[in-house]
């Protein structure tokens, strides 16, 4: 599958191996995936199948051993670390399983953080941050600290932070992994809204089939290989099996 020229993500024959004391360990083997603008993709697979590794490479946090990765029309392999930082800042919004908020900063400072690296002035930064906090339903908590709110709220703050630079792509690695079912639903509703209303492309890793059900497309990884890539409705039941 080649995809259209304005694909958000185009990955071709990607290999990744980790160098360990016991020698190189291949983790991703010949992965080729293309994601078009506006898609909502769920990535599933058993633990250790390479989902996080895949997401880190998508997010330009890590580099592949070989293969080609074109993000938003730019060949990531050709870019220096400053340009990669720029891409992470402008094109991608990250949502991690562990929220990864700065514990000492209040919510509006946390959400405004990506804007610092764009050189946005403080007052404007705070305006944007408050707007995003309001969008994720936390407008009343601007000055709270991360440890003063619940896990679900923290994850929504993380989403607000991912949104503040108006990214094309949101990468979420098990965003509901630390949340109970009810809060998971709230967070997923937010992702769905971002995808449907704002047209943001989303790639989301999950172990749970009902979380994956929010997406339109499923990529199933097993042992570093893509064993299914297609509409989620057509996926075989074993591809949607909860893994953990």
């Amino acid at each position: 599958m080649s995809g259209s020229p304005d694909a958000v993500i185009r990955i071709e024959q990607l290999y990744k191996e980790y160098l360990t004391d016991a020698g190189p360990v291949p983790v991703l083997k010949d992965v080729s995936v293309t994601v078009e603008p506006g898609e909502f993709v769920a990535v599933m697979g058993p633990s250790g199948s390479g989902k996080s590794t895949f997401m880190n490479i998508l997010g330009c946090l890590d580099v592949a051993t070989s293969g080609r990765y074109v993000l938003n029309g730019r060949d990531v392999g050709m870019l220096g670390s400053d340009e990669l930082a720029h891409l992470r800042n402008q094109v991608i919004g990250f949502v991690f399983q562990g929220f990864n908020l700065l514990p000492r900063a209040n919510l509006e400072d946390n959400v405004g953080l990506p804007l610092i690296y764009r050189g946005v002035a403080r007052s404007e930064r705070l305006d944007h941050a408050r707007e995003m906090l309001a969008k994720v339903g936390l407008g009343a908590y601007n000055r709270s600290r991360p440890n003063q709110i619940s896990g679900g709220q923290q994850q929504r703050v993380a989403i607000a932070r991912a949104l503040v630079n108006r990214p094309k792509l949101i990468l979420a690695d098990e965003p509901t992994g630390n949340l109970d079912t009810a809060t998971s639903k709230e967070v997923m509703a937010l992702f769905t809204e971002l995808n449907e209303r704002d047209g943001i492309t989303i790639v989301l890793v999950t172990h749970e089939s009902d979380i994956a059900a929010n997406a339109h497309r499923l990529v199933r990884l097993t042992d570093g290989r893509v064993i299914y890539d297609g509409p989620i409705q057509h996926a075989a039941p074993e591809h949607l099996e909860a893994t953990s």
Binding site: N56, G59, C60, L61, D62, S81, D82, A85, H86, R88, N89, Q90, F94, N100, L101, L102, R104, A105, L113, P114, I116, Y117, R118, G119, R122, R125, R161, N165
Partner: protein
């Protein structure tokens, strides 16, 4: 951008106040020590320079007796061999500006109900020229006072204060060893000499009066020492040679016989003292700088700990778009803020300490704007230098490694 970074550095520093304070303390002590030591060192130097300036320039002192005489080391001026005539002859040598024979002694002064014991210097009017000593009031005595050995006196400031208080001494009569002396004038204040004596605690009278009427002398016409001023610094070696030649001739010393006098170049001695003071001042500064260095190492140590502790934070920042140089700047700014604030407090404490030393011991202190500016520059440099390595380390992390760090 930098404003945001400054605010962030501030928050980070506030997060661990005790640690930030202790790190800063290293800088505070370092800078404080440098400022204090420079103030004391430069103060000492300035005092020495003032003493030298008050001494007069291009000076020799000729003492009676050789430094070694017949194998025995004699105290300078022990055997009285110099005479008034010697002084006069030296005064006529080429390149000699003036020569002043001097017969010092100690005596009790009385004025009204007050009395004061001080050094009395019997000398000629040239003494004032040689020592470059001005009068604050009145007139000097003259050669005719020398000829007639009149009882007249010039008083130093300290003597005036102790005997006369606020009264104007000029024209008054005081008693030295029970004889009346008329005060002709008051000497301008000179302050401390190089060896720490109060130069204003003195009375100057005609040398002949001292010899004949005040102290008496076993050898009529001899003086303890002669002070000589050369025309210029360049002329000093030649003048020293011609004094030696002249005195050997006048004292009829045979070829090979020891000198019965010794000529000392006071200006050279003074310059040595000045150099010593300067070296002292530098040494003090250098020793204090070591504590600044230690403070810098403290900053580096804490910054390294801080980078390790905040590895995950670094990872988060990188994930949301921080470039290496943003991280570098953040940690560098933190180090610089710590050192500059430490420096600020150090300057305040150093200046306060120097003023306290001055109050308590009366030691001269000199605080120049240069030393403060320098302290700031050094502190900033220390912050950059010792902050660089930890900041570099933080900036060089791979985003994924920093994020995964537990």
């Amino acid at each position: 951008m930098t404003a945001a970074m400054l605010a962030e550095a501030w928050v980070a520093m506030g997060a661990n106040r005790l640690r930030t304070f202790l790190t800063m303390l290293g800088m505070v002590i370092g800078v404080g020590a440098v400022i204090l030591m420079l103030a004391i060192g430069q103060g000492a130097q300035q005092q020495v320079e003032a003493s030298i300036a008050s001494m007069g320039s291009n000076l020799f002192i000729i003492l009676s007796g050789s430094t070694t005489s017949g194998g025995l080391r004699m105290g300078g001026g022990a055997a009285p061999t110099l005479t008034l005539a010697d002084a006069q002859a030296i005064g006529e040598l080429p390149s000699v500006a003036a020569a002043a024979p001097s017969s010092p002694g100690t005596a009790q002064l009385v004025y009204g109900p007050n009395n004061w014991s001080t050094q009395i210097m019997g000398t000629t009017p040239s003494f004032l020229a040689v020592r470059d000593w001005k009068l604050a009031a009145g007139f000097p005595f003259t050669d005719s006072d020398i000829r007639s050995a009149t009882r007249v006196a010039l008083l130093g400031k300290t003597v005036v204060t102790n005997l006369f208080g606020d009264e104007d001494p000029v024209g008054k009569t005081l008693r030295i060893k029970n004889s009346p002396y008329m005060v002709l004038g008051v000497l301008a204040a000179k302050g401390q000499s190089l060896d720490g004596r109060d130069q204003d605690d003195t009375v100057i009278i005609p040398v002949t009066t001292a010899q004949r009427k005040l102290f008496g002398t076993r050898f009529v016409g001899t003086v303890r020492f002669i002070m000589v001023q050369a025309d210029s610094a360049d002329a000093m070696p030649a003048v020293e040679r011609s004094i030696n030649q002249l005195l050997r001739q006048r004292h009829r010393l045979r070829e090979g016989a020891d000198d019965d006098f010794s000529v000392r170049n006071l200006t050279a001695l003074a310059n040595t003292a000045a150099e010593t003071a300067q070296v002292m001042s530098l040494m003090l500064g250098a020793i204090a700088s070591v504590s600044l260095l230690v403070g810098g190492i403290g900053i580096m140590n804490i910054m390294l700990v801080s980078v390790t502790e905040r590895t995950r934070e670094i990872g988060i920042r990188m994930a949301i778009g921080a470039r290496g140089k943003d991280i570098l700047l953040q940690f560098l700014l933190e180090a610089i803020i710590i050192s500059v604030i430490g420096c600020l407090i150090g300057v305040v404490l150093g200046v306060g300490g120097a003023l306290t030393v001055n109050q308590l011991s009366g030691m001269t202190i000199v605080i120049t704007p240069e030393s403060i500016v320098m302290a700031f520059a050094v502190a900033a440099a220390v912050g950059i230098f010792f902050g660089w390595y930890p900041a570099r380390k933080a900036a060089a992390m791979k985003p994924i490694d920093a994020l995964r760090y537990q």
